[in-house]
């Protein structure tokens, strides 16, 4: 299941690089996932209506 690293030097990032796209999907998830939290946080604030006037 886990593929060995074939690069010259095997670092943390190389191990995440498990065949097509694993590393990049991990990084994308890391970037996009917290936006869900931001979404619900903003929703809560909007519903409470306690936003500073812009």
């Amino acid at each position: 299941m886990i593929e060995p690293c074939h690069d010259v030097v095997c670092s943390f990032w190389s191990y995440l690089n498990q065949g097509p796209m694993t590393l990049t999907i991990i990084l994308h998830t890391l970037i996009v996932l917290p936006m869900i939290w931001i979404y619900f946080d903003e929703k809560k604030r909007l519903e409470r209506g306690d936003l500073p006037n812009e």
């Binding site: 010259v8 670092s11 990032w13 970037i31 917290p34 931001i38 903003e42 604030r45 519903e47």
Partner: protein, 229 residues
């Protein structure tokens, strides 16, 4: 009942998202850069003694034979420095054993080799090589790629007449129009004898950089025929 709100059209939501995305992407890039920089540090003569592969090897590789071969383990072509040996995991790697004379010597010390490629790199920049040629594939597209120029079959053909390909390349660099092979020729850039030697050393050193298999099938003129043999 709660008021219906639209987060998707809220400027605040997008501003926070933009800040988050930019920040985390930058931090990831910085971490990746630290890791890459460690892997891309120029190797030392000790590494070569211990047969440790480095992406960018020590310039003392100019003392060794250099080749570029398909390694089934890595899945692409890799530089083979000083002959090949079998990898324990399968495939092939550099043996760092077979030496060859470079301008009559095969015992350049680490210091000498570094000085040589220092001058070579300065000359490459000072003569604007990158605005006609590509180096590691980057540059202009008016002249051939120089990534593996050291291994180019053209020089193998010219080598005997010059007593070795390093002399052939150095002669060419000092007066390119004289040795021009095509209508589109390289101008005379006033490269001195020392500079030419240094540039050739740089080209040899560059051909030993592990470029993840770029360029593919280098030197395989007309499909299946390996012209480097």
């Amino acid at each position: 009942m709660e008021e219906k709100v639209s987060v998707w059209t809220s400027n605040r939501f997008w501003r926070r998202s933009a800040t988050w995305v930019t920040g985390v992407a930058s931090v990831l890039l910085i971490f990746l850069t630290f890791d890459s920089m460690a892997q891309m540090k120029m190797g030392s003569a000790k590494d070569i003694e211990k047969k440790i592969d480095r992406r960018i090897p020590s310039p003392v590789v100019i003392n060794y034979t250099i080749d570029y071969k398909l390694d089934p383990y890595r899945g692409h072509e890799i530089p083979i420095i000083g002959g090949e040996m079998r990898r324990p995991e399968g495939g092939i790697k550099s043996a760092y054993e077979k030496k060859e004379k470079f301008f009559g010597r095969d015992d350049y010390s680490e210091k000498e080799a570094r000085e040589l490629i220092h001058k070579g790199k300065l000359t490459i920049q000072a003569k604007n090589c990158m605005d006609c040629h590509t180096l590691l594939g980057n540059g202009a597209y008016y002249a051939p790629d120089l990534t593996k120029a050291w291994l180019d079959p053209t020089w193998e053909t010219l080598a005997p007449a010059y007593n070795g390909k390093e002399y052939a390349i150095a002669a060419f660099l000092q007066d390119p129009p004289k040795m021009a092979m095509h209508e589109r020729k390289m101008p005379n850039l006033g490269i001195t004898k020392e500079e030419a030697k240094a540039v050739v050393a740089y080209l040899k050193f560059m051909s030993a950089i592990d470029t993840n298999g770029f360029p593919r099938n280098f030197g395989k003129i007309k499909g299946a025929v390996d012209a480097r043999k």
